[in-house]
Subunit: 369 residues, 4 copies
């Protein structure tokens, strides 16, 4: 399925960085979901490079809804959003055309597309395509909220600095979703930005870890084999440029725990089954258990660094030295967080629509009620 | 698609722990692949519990090939393998029927299947289903080897003990694939087993990290969005019971590196483009770059611990104390490693068949040659 | 997806005519559906060759439910049914191995599977695989009935003889589902059997047209583009051996009507929107309109005829004359009708589960209520 | 998957008749296919209403390639084509908003989309969406031609008039692909147009049968169960508005033949296996046999007729009389033929890419060579 993801609610991405536009088609979303253009614009703004910690390329991110919305609400038919490209300066990239930038997809794209791909600005590999994903994700986030499902992502670690852990999730998510640089601890945020600025000053970049939480997912969603909730989410999350790892409940940090420490004890909270801890990240046996989903994405540092690098010219097979000019993002975690929210939202909409039917997100009674 | 995974080469799993059999249907495998029953049996043996570090339930793992093999080779039509269940003692589990074992799928399975699932021995959630996956994986591993693609997994960390890193991959993989307890450093293996035994003695369990390497994957396989090679592999790997995290190139351990440290410099090695380091785990922009794939699975400790645990009876909604009797695996990493190989192999067969056509694995010329 | 069909409720087929067994895995069926083994056996009996109008090969069609049923009901996990092969005499077919039987898949199977397929008795192409489809279909038919959806198929035309049209659908379907040779007009049935017998006497065979009706499908199921209800059903129905055409509302017979004659006028019947006629076969714009589904399958005559035929030996590329020995079905319509019911039921279960959620067939409230 | 069709080469459709644009995203097409904008324009022109036999609404069908083409060739990344809507007069349709037009999707769309769909001009159900399908199809047709695969469709029957049968396929297809009103017998074409004009004069419409032939499809493409070549093609073809039946080899007209008449005898023609007749329409056992594909689509008469019709207002549940004003197509076969070519081409590109790999259409060697 390639550039399409999802079964009942599916998203298709298209577009190149320096073509006329990037875009997304979201199909299968329930009819009747309000489409708030201001919210889409706000989400796109969060994804934009900004301030001292991002590239200076200006991306106003105007968008156009081409289909699937009527009188302010989703129609249930495919919703296409176009985001025209502007201010793309191809000449910045021209000398690099056949020099494989380390850590980028130049070489793999060249092999896969046999030299025919639009190489300008990363083409279809460009992070700019995530603008389309973010716009589609905004509609999915809205749909989920109406069902009481709230998503938020913070920068758990960046440039060697850690944010505090989630504590009071509803409050934490509410706060994050009002913040441009998504940290729970403002102080940690300051130090992260300092680390980014320091790396940028050396022509270098930093990576880190994003942590996403989702409250309100009903128990019983996901499958025991293959279409586990973890597998579905991870499948999609690895599309976010730079994401090289996904775990649930912080598993990579808990490899040394014993079973008696790792298990989440069940208890009754009013009429609801809950767990005392949430080391399983809200999923047991591939299926949601009613606790918040907790997942992390390991994001590698942005590969465009100014320092000279060893590489090859893949058109000639000759060794080359590469110096990447221009301004590039010294970090993308603060921009990627809204993409993580979006990908999570789209994947959950699909899983929920499969479980409860295509109208559930639109407010119809839940088949599992 | 649920219990089916794959597009061109697909696997469907079925079976319950205490039903007549578990099994797998592999569809789309190229015709003409030799099916070596001894190799299948050997792989199944590696998955079996054994020695002091696993449960005493005896699983001889006889298997029957029901279809798809003729005169010792794959026919190209669906290959069904059945593994009859034997020696299953349902009474061991009966008292637990409605007590949610922490860390298990009892509660989520109850919600999802509305109380109708076969609860005996974990039913369809049982790790026993991985025997079927392993048998199908053995055929996939054979097919890949004939194309020069070799897979191996070691226990990178277990019970707080680390194995050494991969160094000479071909030699390391060859050694691992002859080893029952898959470590590169025999000494580390001894200490891991001690840790497992110590945990078992306390009625507890340990988890850890598996690391898988794959050599010989051609460059150019995978997609830029959604069907990234990382996303496809992670999707499937999260089906392995206990896997709660997947990363490539050890990303979760490298969150603090800078871009200039993380980037893998390209160079020419003979006629081939290679990278000096392999922090991207063989994948750039979702597409294989010709370097070995390197991926890790974080495996939580086995949830069946003997220590008393707090839980609820989900049929009554009442609090309960749970003590799990019987012998259970104090660790599953040493058994899961062959499942990781199998899942990786099946996923790669699918990606390669999609890329190069359905006959490529059978020896037909590569469309991308 | 090949031998798997369906998205939410999916069926995977496997097995060769002369291997150990044929079988089906049905995945995604709602939990809690009663599995009536007598009904499965009855459906298998309807598919069996019988009497003077079919081949004498005896097929007792014992079946074994390997998974997915517990205490007489579906568990919601994959339901695997095995039907062991018996009484298969490979020697009957041996001389034909490389002679392409006209109208059969010998040659195309040879090309596709590069000579590795099990050639005995048609291998995986054998109509015997429909026994597995029928067994799975029986569960689907049961599930639909519990939701008030009833399916029946009659032989609308066979050997030049026409059955009467459907008139009172509920009564007609009830009658058909009690009949072995499925016609509405007993007299037409007699003449059809005479035509079959006459063809058989000349070593020849006949084909015809099956017509299926489905009552009780709610309005609003299906998609406007690609996953039209017609497209989904036709996709699956073309798997029935011999089916070479599918239409809705008898479209091929109505090519000369004018729009004013073809349109189905809407009217209110109590609180329900209905149409005066049903030339659209219950589907408008790809979506069910609440009227009965009406579809027809054109079934070509059985290709195994005794008369000598011109062919080639595809292993040598030489011309050959072929005479097919043994007894073969002079007609399969009377056997295929239960397969048409089954395929229709499985496809509808999938479409309904996608629309209303995975529990709707199990009795959960409809999201669209 | 809904508005997306295909596995390796997939098409996603979007857009409403009176929204800003309709469009298609084609994903998975091999890189390096020349994209001839003149050819796309020509195909769009064939789909346009024209002359006395179609509606007077002017549709200039300008189109914009948004992505996936670089320097005149496909890049291999998703190709998005937008076709802006112009000259749409919503007021023509306004009074009909809640009156179900017989034979249209107004009522089913209302139920499915719960009243939220864009009702103007049929919205997403509009035949206008086929313009996008046609544009994408033009690229697929070009790709296939470069592999020696040629498609053509004629109006086999319209308004009670039959065209002659195919005789010399290469010449017939070449002629058809230069013709606006696609008939093989010019005389039959004159009479068909007279029939259309006569129906139009009475405020009525006609339907008929399209027949498509495809030469050059290699043997061995398609699957034995479910993804039969017939099933895949039919699945997609039923999306063409008005198509209510699909058969292969003219099966519905051959229901009375005996097996000895129906079977296609094999013979050697030079080195190639061929059949004397082609009643199986180029497919045996779901798999192409190397002969031309021959398929027919039964197209119902255009439902928009001027004559007064009985209907209901689905918002009030009251009976109503409906008179459709404005000019409407009295026939669409002559426009739909290019859509049939397009859908066939897209489906074949997918089946071939699955079989031979993603680069085969781009000229890479065939894995099955």
């Amino acid at each position: 399925m390639k550039n399409t993801f999802g079964t009942s609610v599916a998203v298709t991405l298209f577009g190149e960085s320096h073509g006329p536009a990037v875009g997304a088609v979201m199909d299968g979303m329930a009819p009747g979901i309000p489409v708030d253009e201001d919210f889409i614009a706000r989400q796109l703004t969060l994804r934009r490079p900004w301030g001292e910690v991002s590239t200076a390329r200006v991306e106003p991110d105007r968008f156009e809804i081409v289909s699937g919305v009527f009188e302010g609400k989703t129609t249930g038919t495919p919703l296409c959003i176009l985001i025209p490209n502007e201010d793309a300066r191809s000449r910045d990239y021209a000398p690099l055309r056949t020099l494989a930038r380390p850590g980028h997809a130049d070489y793999t794209g060249y092999v896969k597309y046999r030299g025919y791909a639009d190489w300008r600005g990363g083409g279809h590999f460009s992070g700019r395509v995530t603008a389309a994903l973010t716009a589609a994700g905004a509609v999915a986030i809205t749909a989920l909220r109406r069902r009481g499902i709230v998503i938020g992502t913070h920068i758990a670690r960046c440039g060697g600095v850690s944010d505090r852990a989630f504590s009071d999730l509803p409050a934490d998510l509410a706060a994050l979703n009002k913040t441009a640089f998504a940290v729970l601890d403002a102080d940690a945020g300051v130090r992260m930005r300092e680390a980014i600025t320091a790396a940028a000053a050396e022509g270098d970049s930093v990576g880190g870890i994003l942590e996403t939480a989702v409250t309100g997912v009903p128990a019983g969603v996901g499958e025991p084999w293959f279409d586990t909730l973890e597998g579905l989410l991870a499948h999609a999350l690895f599309s976010i440029p730079g994401v090289k790892g996904v775990d649930f409940g912080g598993a990579f940090d808990r490899a040394d725990l014993r079973g008696s420490e790792y298990n989440d004890a069940f208890y009754m909270d009013g009429g609801a089954v809950r767990t005392r801890t949430n080391r399983n990240g809200g999923v047991n046996g591939g299926i949601s258990n009613g606790m918040p989903l907790l997942l992390r994405c390991a994001v590698k540092p942005t590969p465009s660094v100014r320092k000279q690098q060893e590489t090859v010219d893949f058109s000639t097979g000759e060794a080359a030295a590469l110096t990447i000019e221009g301004r590039h993002d010294p970090a993308i975690l603060h921009r990627a967080r809204v993409v993580a929210d979006s990908v999570t939202a789209l994947t959950l909409c699909d899983a929920l629509a499969l479980r409860y039917g295509t109208d559930w997100l639109g407010g119809a009674p839940c088949a599992a009620d």
